[in-house]
Symmetry: C2
Subunit: 528 residues, 2 copies
């Protein structure tokens, strides 16, 4: 290559803020870790990414195995901290069989395993001597996990559960196929039907073949060239498989030797705490994904010139066109906003967990609604935003070399996983309607719903926006968003009150309820 020319120097020199200060916005430590790990990955040829889109499925999978093992080796060699290791994995940027091992399998054992179970499995899992996966949804049931068909029936004679997939639709899908598997099944024990997480050995640890009665398979190609094709999301089916009772994760609920189902003293709400945590991570990740897309589109727009050449001089930079700015800059602002709201959610999670330890469940419903809604809002906006950035790069955005097609393909499942975005907004709406219905009772709206306590005043709100500059006054913006959300929620509540069967009303007005939930979530983003 010839000398590298910095085509962005001209733009960079025009900066009117302190770039270093902007970089470390939030935390110098976080920036340093991120920067160090980014350089480590970028400088190591073993982590090269350019061949990812040209490999066929098998070669891509092998490539992922090799990269993941190598990353693990480097993490040990360099004695990286847990934070650094997570950051390194994120820069390797290739979905891997270890993602659910670290992200779901280990946390599930930590959260739902007894002390004894944790001592047995966690050391093995940490050393990757067992590799776990996570299987929750079934072919026929995604959002409605309560409708799962798989059964776990306790047999007191053998002290074992019989796990069975009665139908094709009860096959688990979208999970990873490895030695160990934590999953949910419908616990059918002496007439008692409830939920249980079990950890079963899905493959033999001797030859890694599936155990008798267990069928595993790959669900086939997914969106994009590379994206999630680098891992083997699978199907899993049980044909009367017997597993020992002590492989049930028994921290939260137990089945006794006699087959009696008992709840432990550990609050079940802790499970929701975990959900809040996972979704908080998704919001922060939305900011990162959108930042990457905006960064690519902004640099392209600064370098790309088209039209407007005067007397044979340079053409106009694409970034100077108002039509480009009107599409790009709000996405840039959103990337920052999602970062801030992600930081705030991290605080919220810690606050909720602290309260749960003292059995204070008062803020949990609000925190749950809040993270559900923000997960939905930020992932939808980011998915659309990445595609918009791709279009802003013209024909060049269609090439994998722009990075944008793969970023889109790998990002979009986040609109569906961990709660379908529309289903989540309906949960937020339920919470808002409930909050309205409790006005006047002793339960005051808390946290992000506290504005609903001022609903009468907000219904009278009239915007005093006169000119564009008024949009720069934070309080004016906040007031407008509060009034908008309040008016939408109240309108829904009034419509619902006309129904004798509330559920019927909820179905009938679900589109309006989703709109109200979106307005509420946009208010949260604006207010943080």
């Amino acid at each position: 290559m010839e000398d590298i020319v910095d085509h962005l120097a001209f733009e960079r020199n025009k900066t009117q803020f302190d770039v270093d200060e902007m970089k470390i916005a939030g935390s110098l430590h976080a920036f340093e870790v991120s920067d160090k790990m980014a350089r480590l990955v970028a400088s190591d040829p073993a982590f090269r990414k350019d061949d990812r889109v040209v490999l066929d499925r098998k070669a891509l999978f092998m490539n992922t195995l090799r990269k993941t093992a190598y990353a693990w080796k480097r993490i040990i060699e360099l004695r990286l901290s847990e934070e650094e290791a997570a950051m390194l994995r994120s820069f390797v940027d290739q979905p891997a069989f270890t993602d659910l091992h670290w992200g779901m399998f280990v946390p599930t054992i930590k959260g739902q395993g007894t002390e004894e179970q944790q001592q047995k499995w966690l050391p093995l899992a940490h050393k990757m001597q067992i590799i776990g996966c996570y299987a929750q949804t079934e072919l026929g049931h995604g959002s409605n996990v309560q409708g799962l068909e798989k059964t776990a029936t306790f047999d007191p004679k053998t002290d074992e559960f019989v796990i069975h997939s009665p139908t094709l639709t009860s096959s688990k899908d979208i999970f990873l196929r490895y030695d160990f598997n934590s999953f949910d099944a419908d616990l059918n024990s002496g007439g008692l039907v409830d939920w249980v997480s079990l950890s079963s050995c899905e493959r033999s640890l001797d030859d890694h073949l599936p155990l008798p009665g267990i069928t595993v398979g790959d669900i086939g190609m997914k969106f994009g060239n590379g994206a999630y094709n680098s891992m083997d999301n699978g199907v899993l089916r049980f044909d009367y498989v017997w597993i020992p009772r002590n492989q049930m994760l028994m921290r939260v609920s137990q089945v006794t030797r006699e087959g009696k189902y008992v709840q432990s003293s550990v609050p079940r709400q802790l499970v929701y705490g975990t959900m809040v945590n996972v979704r908080q991570t998704i919001v922060s990740d939305a900011s990162i994904a959108l930042s990457r897309a905006v960064c690519i589109a902004t640099r392209y727009s600064a370098v790309r010139r088209q039209f407007g050449s005067k007397k044979g001089g340079l053409e106009t930079q694409v970034i100077d066109y108002k039509t480009q700015q009107a599409r790009l800059f709000p996405l840039l602002a959103s990337a920052y906003a999602f970062g801030f709201v992600g930081e705030w959610l991290k605080w919220l999670y810690m606050d909720v967990m602290k309260r749960l330890q003292t059995s204070d469940f008062s803020t949990l419903p609000e925190a749950h609604a809040c993270t559900a809604g923000l997960k939905s809002l930020t992932t939808s906006a980011t998915a659309d935003g990445i595609e918009e950035c791709r279009k802003l790069c013209g024909g060049h955005g269609y090439l994998c070399s722009s990075g944008l097609p793969e970023l889109f393909a790998v990002y979009i499942p986040s609109c569906t996983y961990e709660g379908d975005n529309t289903v989540l907004l309906l949960q937020v709406a339920r919470h808002l309607i409930k909050t309205i219905s409790q006005l006047g009772s002793r339960k005051k709206p808390v946290g992000t719903t506290s504005y609903i306590g001022r609903v009468e005043q907000l219904m009278q709100y009239h915007s005093d926006f006169q000119k564009a500059e008024d949009g720069l006054k934070p309080n004016a913006v906040l007031g407008a968003f509060e009034a908008r959300a309040a008016k939408k929620v109240i309108a829904c509540a009034q419509n619902l009150s006309k129904f004798t069967n509330p559920e019927e009303g909820f179905q009938e007005f679900s589109v309006d309820l989703v709109e109200a939930a979106v307005a509420h979530c946009q208010l949260i983003v604006v207010s943080k």
Copy 2:
């Protein structure tokens, strides 16, 4: 496979309209050709599509070569008509090196070649003894074709042109690499700079290697697993390549033996007629692509059940949820609307061509604006609509087996090619502003802009919509759309009138102008 169960029978039996009549809406002949070709492709294992997403790039390319050659063989064997052949190729549904041969190369020779040139090249092209491509844009110039850097300099001594790419950015990209290539270059002949199409032999017909001075390459992987990776869009660079003068396509403009540039009596406007035709096809294709996505999502929504099970019975069909309906049904309606407007554009094209034969250019600017705007509107809506359909299929939509990821990947370039959608809307806006400025003159607004002639009356328009049912009255809807478009266009015109430099005003208010253009195009769709 076991017996095939029709999971849609229940829904199908509820139909309240004549399905056969709906199928042939438009033309029985078109339906029959389409149906016959669809069955031909579906029943022939040589056209199987299921392996398309698992092949690596090279294997996919070989697969395309084989399929395309086989399709050609079948077309000859079965003596298919031109219409049937085109339909068969469309059902093979795999972008191929022949697409630009039939879609651009042959029409360019037909439209811009002299009688003699047509007689020389067309028989060879029709028998595929020469395979052509089309190279217009350059790495540095897409939308701004007037800024192309490649030069064609006439040398009267040798009676040849010298074709040269002076810079890296003047490399042609996004074209197909074959034996023959029709392209545009900046004709530099005796101080005269103009546009010219040339047909040059890019590869030797003996060994198919590039001729001296010509560099060809592949632009690399593009969005999606299969999609456009089945063809080799390329780069092309000329280093002082000499080609005979008689390889310039000389129907519209010529260079004489002495190097004098002359216009023929054939109106240059014919070139715009071709553009109208290409864009008309894109609008019809938008309807087809959106129909496919909507069909998949609708069938899925009818079969998929989630939540709402009462007493262990069946759960609710997803299609019965209002949130699903509110997202899906407008797309279904759009698919039909784009089909109707596509049919109308076909008529418009024929009308324009008929007028051009008699040198009547009066409707050309309006027809040009109209097709540009509708190309933009329908392709943007279809690209977004396919992705929305994919999300409506939940996790299943992320699998290639749903058909939606590939449909999206292969469709989205249409927002960029044949005119970037934002650039096209700005062209529409220019036409609207010009139409406004000519009010009061003898030039009356024609065709789709004729409502602008009633602008004073429309500015007074007040909607008399009282309830949802009013939306079913066609005239009420039309009136509202007319008034909305008129108000937006007038507001823009008023803003622009404040600028002494109109171009400056146009840049400043470009975002509003795009909005006005969209309102105008939506009105066209509603009115057809």
